[in-house]
Amino acid sequence: MIRRFLLCALFAAAAVPAWAQTMSYADAISQLAAACKNDIARYCKGVPLGPRLKTCFDANGARMSPKCQQTRSAVYASISRRAAAQRNIGDVCSADIARLCDTSHADAHLVECLVSVSPAALSQQCGQTFNDTGWRTERARQ
């Protein structure tokens, strides 16, 4: 119950609109590199990619170029939304999986199953979280 509440709070707090797709980590972080390269060199020189870079953005964001500010909000929101979806998919979709899939959840078969069922058959929350994982598009590319 507490976990469910935290999940809801997490979704409510995300800056990305609920219908938006999350980006792949590669696309997200290369947008950041492109839009913020100069600002990173100026305000975050020597700061490693990782938690400290985000802290540096938080501390210096107001001084950075508008394009960088806008991009980094969208990029970090997308990354944390995708990471949360990948972490929580088993819990969020447990009822759907029990109903639709003949498998234990949280392994590769889960994705095969969720891809194979019609999106309309999934509960709204499970469908959204599954979209956010990016695994539907990842699977389609293979």
Partner: protein, 206 residues
């Protein structure tokens, strides 16, 4: 699992061809994931600590400006793996923005469901510029910087990643020890680490 195995072999062959033909060309996250998937069901019988010790022993037993003989780990040759180039600031463990995409691609690959529960070594290699002992420390810090970024912001489970610095003990091109091709990062699948029960609970595989 069988089809994954075929894919992985194909991807490794492809990787060799692509690297040879295009030099700097990097592989994408799908290719990384298939390169890391299911070639072998065995777990690597070698720990990060043993590898770090072997590196120090190699420097101690075979001293010289360059390693007189490359350090080899035969156990690792059959493990699923790939190699990428990552740009760091000079003499530093700070990843350059030009390589952010590569780190993001590794994160995409490690989150691929076919790799769920597997453990990975992140192995850093330097060229021969600088002392051998120094390069071990530098490559260790660089491998750790990649591990740190994969964990936060990209959400990879810290329990599946171990960083190891090889220094210059495994030059890729010993004839040109200062060449950029020697500076690289190797990702190795060390086998299943976490297993999942019927109700999705995660535990360390027996």
């Amino acid at each position: 699992m069988k089809s994954h195995r075929c894919h992985a072999v194909a991807a490794l062959v492809l990787l060799g061809a692509v690297t040879a033909a295009l030099g700097q060309q990097q592989i994408n996250s799908s290719q990384m994931a298939t390169s890391l998937a299911g070639v072998s069901n065995t777990r690597l019988s070698l720990t990060g600590a043993q590898m770090r010790q072997a590196v120090l022993d190699n420097i101690h037993n075979y001293p010289g400006t360059l390693p007189p003989r490359p350090l080899t780990f035969p156990q690792m040759e059959n493990m699923a793996q790939f190699v990428v180039e990552v740009d760091f600031d000079f003499n530093s463990a700070v990843i350059r923005p030009s390589s952010y995409r590569t780190i993001g691609s590794i994160a995409d690959a490690l989150h691929n469901p076919i790799l769920l529960g597997y453990g990975f070594l992140v192995i850093g290699h330097t060229d021969s510029v600088g002392g051998r002992q120094y390069n071990v420390g530098l490559s260790q810090r660089r491998a750790e910087a990649i591990r740190d970024a994969l964990i936060d912001p990209f959400g990879v489970n810290p329990g599946v990643l171990e960083a190891v610095g090889m220094g210059e003990e495994q030059l890729r091109d010993p004839a040109h020890p200062t060449s950029g091709v020697n500076r690289r990062v190797q990702l190795v699948n060390v086998g299943k680490k976490f297993c999942f029960g019927r109700s999705g609970e995660q535990f360390v595989c027996p």
